[in-house]
Symmetry: C2
Subunit: 198 residues, 2 copies
Amino acid sequence: MSHVRYRRLMAVDRDHVLRSAAALLTRKSTATMDEVARAAGISRATLHRQFAGRDALVRALEALGIAECEAALAAARTDEGSATDALRRLVAAIEPHAPLLAFLYTENQLFEGEEQNEGWAAIDERIAALFRRGQSSGEFRIDLTPAWLTEALYGLLASAAWAVAEGRVAPKDFTHMIVELLLGGVRRPEEPASRKES
Amino acid sequence: MSHVRYRRLMAVDRDHVLRSAAALLTRKSTATMDEVARAAGISRATLHRQFAGRDALVRALEALGIAECEAALAAARTDEGSATDALRRLVAAIEPHAPLLAFLYTENQLFEGEEQNEGWAAIDERIAALFRRGQSSGEFRIDLTPAWLTEALYGLLASAAWAVAEGRVAPKDFTHMIVELLLGGVRRPEEPASRKES
DNA sequence: CGCACGTGAGACATCTTTGTCTCATTCGGG
DNA sequence: CCCGAATGAGACAAAGATGTCTCACGTGCG
């Protein structure tokens, strides 16, 4: 029943621990509970008091990632304006959370049989809906399925996050790189005035 | 059963073990040595006799992946013809090895500090050179760096491999999905005859 | 002041995986 | 027919991670 009042020493606020864990696990996905605890500046015992085990921690991180994705989707207002602009807004909104997303994306790959959090299904659907909307409006090509485009967006986000983390590309180009590649591809657009050859 | 004549019982040919391990680890990257051995149809003892440890196994898989990438690069003749066609050939040549590549790609992310096999650097360079060539020839846009395009190609290959493995997209669309997205992006090309609006 | 609560430190047993070893078996070849 | 080589089965210890527990400390609050 306790909420906020006597909140002075119970500290170690869960949110700070989660974000520290996200930052660490993003870089080293095999970090131990002890490393996670040290990264958050708390003891392993305290970490265990907040998250029953490693599974609980990962599931909490998953919930955090889902919440941040949903917040990004809401902030980007993906059903307003052109699908192109909506996609730009979406990537820009997700950018700060890309490292965590990259961690969760690969983490999900090794769950093999187990069903994944249903929260992802809802997010997948909202992103796929954005691509579908773009296809319906004629902005997007229709020979690539929304499911694949959604998957590709995740893949590009993860790739970009890693490339930035390892210094292979500049952080400031993050959104531009993803959005431009996803929207226009690598092929150079033919200039309307002077066209070269088909 | 042995294609080699000078040693009939040395069997358990290393290649079969490697490919079994690749197939298993692609689906479950945390599989134990015992699971890998069973998947290859041999005992853990024999597996250990061929690969000193898990590290040695992963390094052997890395070498296999590198060899297959180099073979794909050679088969695609990436320095002949248009960069666009070369990219199509390259993706088509890599397609069969995409699951292994996806495994190695994520495996490399958690090496944190340790230097990665220098073989990858050579492959990265050859792929980046293809993108550079396309930029020089005017086929590709120049506002996306070859380093990012190379990274994006890896990401799309991995995403597609997973999406196919989990049944989210059709296997037969593999090459088309990747090449088309990478080359043209999702934006619908404007028709030369009737243009809508910019 | 003294109590209560959350924390850090660390001991501890358990579990999993790994790496090494031994031994019996099988199979082909001399 | 017998020998050598490779394998499978399994025991074994070591290492690492996890989960649980106890205890002492310090700080806020009554």
